[in-house]
Amino acid sequence: MTYLRIIPSLLLKNKKLIKGVKFKNHIIAGNPKTTIQTFDSQKSDEIFLIDLDAYKNSKPDFEELKKITATINTPLTFGGGLNSIENIKLAFLNGADKVYISSAIQNNDKIVKDVSLIYGNQSIVGGINLMTDSNNFSMLNYDIDPISFAKKLVDLGVGEIKITFVNLEGSRKGFNLNICEKFLKNIKIPLIFEGGIGSLEDIEKAADAGVQNIALGTLLIFSDYNIFKIKQHLSNKGYKIRN
């Protein structure tokens, strides 16, 4: 059993970090470089950075990525608008250690193979955006059973999958654990869950349900918690945490 991974998940827009609720209502949440340096020094296990503008501009902000990655020693996964092998090459060239690909796989699943032949399968994190209520779940803007799609991602060869509870994002209600368990039972590659964590208890409940990798946005950006405090708490409670 490896350590739980606690992963700040950050959104980049117009050279600022932003945070929202349910993928909307974005508020400025800090300077990307200095904020990420802080997460680096607090021993985040990894960092996720998604460029939101890239979906519109067709080209991610590689300049900003380069500035950020030059000063940290934490693994960073970059995503947003990585819909071509050219953009993916530029992401790695500018300091990404892994790439997050979501809608591009839905449009062209060959991209996984193309990337893995150059960078290896371990460098690709596939994405699933979920809409959920207490009993049902479906993928955002894509009509396919989410578990079947996750299995497809495994077959295509991604190294990890990040599953985001879109309508829990910013809600501080915790993950939908029934759904986490469904994925964990069926999918045997590392899974990262995101969306809804609002308290330390939410993290404990997720870990108790078997979640190994937890991405945090709101809890880090809009509260007094920081990575150091969160890890200290989990460590005191007996969870396997890297300090």
Binding site: T2, T69, N73, I118, G120
Partner: protein, 204 residues
């Protein structure tokens, strides 16, 4: 000190480059034979698929130059795929021939999950090696791989540290002037940065 970093057009070149630079050394990106001039030590980065990487190094004639560099007794650090290249054969996305510095093959992990992504402590064998002694026993390092170096029985002594997955997998391989690590020191925060500094300062 000029530290060469081999660019095979896939790796996370930038991460290594800035780590070496931030430590105060002079990183030189090696893309051609001529770039080896005045280089004191070489780092071969990770992140990349074996076949693509080896084909590229062969095409650019860097492959032979690395072997020459090794035979001159110059220190080489291979990270993740960079370490895998020390093997005789690799099987990622097709079979390819490595440098053959250490006997063994690079094959897929066969654990419950076929990927090992995350942080681990190392299991370091007792050693008199001055370099290895400097590694803190409690240090954690970041791993991200789905293949591992299955070192041949006859070369087992060179696997000087392992990582405990479902089975024990080499995490540090060391033979003469060759050092290989399965983890990513450039992405392992303070312990990783210390490791790279230790390689540059103390590994001969």
């Amino acid at each position: 000190m000029k530290i060469g970093i081999i660019n095979y057009q896939a790796c996370n070149l930038k991460s290594i480059y800035s780590t070496v630079y931030n430590l105060g050394y002079d990183p030189i990106i090696i893309e051609n034979k001529i770039d080896f001039l005045n280089i004191k030590k070489i780092i071969i980065p990770g992140v990349g698929s074996a076949k693509h990487c080896i084909d590229y190094l062969q095409k650019k004639k860097i492959f032979e130059e690395v072997i020459k560099f090794k035979n001159l007794g110059m220190p080489i650090l291979g990270i993740c795929l960079g370490m895998h290249l020390f093997a005789e054969k690799l099987f990622e996305h097709g079979e390819s021939r490595g440098f053959g510095f250490i006997k063994g093959e690079v094959i897929p992990l066969t654990m419950n999950s076929k990927f090992n992504i995350g942080w681990h402590k190392l299991k370091i064998k007792k050693t008199e090696n001055r370099f290895i002694k400097k590694i803190n026993n409690d240090a954690t390092f970041y791993f991200c791989h789905s293949y591992y170096f299955n070192v041949s029985q006859s070369n087992f002594e060179y696997s000087i540290a392992t990582v405990d997955l479902d089975k024990e997998v080499p995490s540090i391989i060391c033979k003469d002037n060759i050092l290989g690590v399965q983890f990513h020191p450039e992405r392992s925060q303070n312990h990783g940065v210390n490791f790279i500094e230790n390689f540059i300062e103390n590994f001969q």
